[in-house]
Amino acid sequence: MATVIAFWVLAILSVVASIAMVVTKNPVRSALALVGTFICVAAFYILLSAQFIAAVQVIVYAGAIMVLFLFVIMLLNLGSPGALRERGSLQPIIATGLGICFLIALLLSGSLLSLPLPAGVRPAEYEPLGTVRAIGINLYDPNQPWLFPFEATSILLLVAVIGAIIMAKRKV
């Protein structure tokens, strides 16, 4: 019962926050509304027993990426919000139409793509993969295939770091 109440409260909050993000004229307020949406989504993940993704959502999206957004908005010095308004653009109408199409597609996708969700079983109980403990065990268990790609990712990140230094430094 408590989860149902929590779900509906979060649902209303997240929808309001995302509408506010699209509607507000001030880009900084818009970005802050997006933070609200991200935090609501993180709370949804907790309701689904996916604590790890919830934490990552807050740290990476609501934290790092939004700070980047705000930095860019402030650095660009966009001027008064009124100057940014587009007039006579078809974009909002097309976007609304496509959004509705996407909503219908999402609602129908369960039957169209025969998504394999067994009825009456919540995903978190069905396979408790989302907890931090389960993710840790899966990543490091030699009997699971994830140890190797996890370790290989470190090389990928190292290459990215080397690349960033080469491209950014004036003199290597």
């Binding site: 998504l115 030699p142 295939p145 090389i155 290459v159």
Partner: protein
Amino acid sequence: MGMSDKLWAIQFANLIAVLPAIVVMVTGFIVLLGDSCVPTWHKNGKALNPAVTFVGIAVALFFNMTRIGKETATAFSGAVVDDPFSRIAILLLGVAAILAVLLSTTYLENKKLHHGEYYVLILFSLFGAMLMASSNELITLFVSIETLSVSLYVLAGFARTEERSEEAALKYFLLGAFAAGFLLYGIALVYGGSFGLSPTGKATTNLTEIGAGLASAGLGGVTVMFVIGVALMFVGFAFKAALVPFHMWTPDVYQGSPTSVTAYMAALTKIAIFTVILRILSVLTPISSVWLITAQILAVLTMFGGNILAVTQDNVKRMLAYSSVAHAGYIMAAVVAVGVANGKFHDLAINATMFYLFAYTLMTIGAFGVLIWLSRRGRDCQTLGDLKGLVKRDPVGAYTMLVFMLSLGGIPPTMGFMGKLMIFNVLLSAGLMPLALCLGFASIISVYYYLRVVWMMCFMEPDKETITDHAVESSGALFAIGVTVVLSLFFGLAPTIAQNLLAPATNILVR
């Protein structure tokens, strides 16, 4: 005690299965750390990096060759597989990398780009490519593809002061990131769609489990989601392999990158991505009716698109970029035959593909190698004008270029001709007559622009300003060009030796 001993034994066996890649990775670390230890003023300090790189790759290839006849083994709970197919692919990748290292040294010194990081990135991209060849699981595959790609994005922009190089890196990076998104989305959908397929009844990203599921369930057990996932994954692969219509980045990136990078990238990416495509299409053979027509259309579009666009190019690097697109089309045609008649022509198709990949590696690296050989301090040899009257100025460069152009055009007695003949043979025996005809017509178009290069070299007078000095000559580049010329001609005359060498590749773990 016994428990931990057993764990050690398992991990040891796991590491042995990916030993060549591990050796390459460790060499990468050695070069990365060693480069900062060697004093920059020391006259041989800079020569140490390519030497260490060369030795590292050679050691990796040695370990790879010692196990060539051994049984197939999977490691890390099925994440990677060590089968004869992957060993042959690793052999080709290593050869491409060694040739590229030989071509690089003097060229980079001339361009003042001789930094240790270049070799580090070469080694890490080779590491990624080797893992691509042995991935048996989609997450591992994605990580290895990205390791290769990110290294190549940086290498493409390695000449940071040149605008074209920067443009190449940015273009490659942005489009590549987009393609990676497609690939990852496809993997997610395949994972979801594999729910009913695997014998354990769980969703899986393991290719052998998906293959077993497809073999038992057949076409009836496949959901729409699975098919969409496969399609999205192939958008990602087609981008990396530069198949039309996902080839737009190729000319700009090949032209803008330093020529030594272009040579390396052209060969390495093609080998790595086509081994992945071969493995996945072998897994998907039970549902070949879903993808067979699409794959054929892709192959035909790629051959004609690449060749027709190459005809008008005056820049040789750009022309070779379009020609590499066309060659991807020929290879794709051979790959398609894997799925015909429920895998009846599987072995023939893999033999032809591996042979052609080998031939393509030698002739592409050779052709770019001649351009590198002709490049002098401060001036890249790029355009057809630069090649005018070459036969008088630099007979070595001219005659080797002639061999590579004949080989790329598929004219006997070169390896390119034998490769095309093998693909032709596969297509005819698999009953893909239209595809074989397209291959023939596309090759005829290609002969025009390859022979145009020969015409420029042999029958045109050199422009006054193209006369270049021979002050800086690279023995490494000359050696690499020599090896590729000799092998292209030798395997063109005695193809059975190469065929026997590559024959184990037909033993591929699918299910």
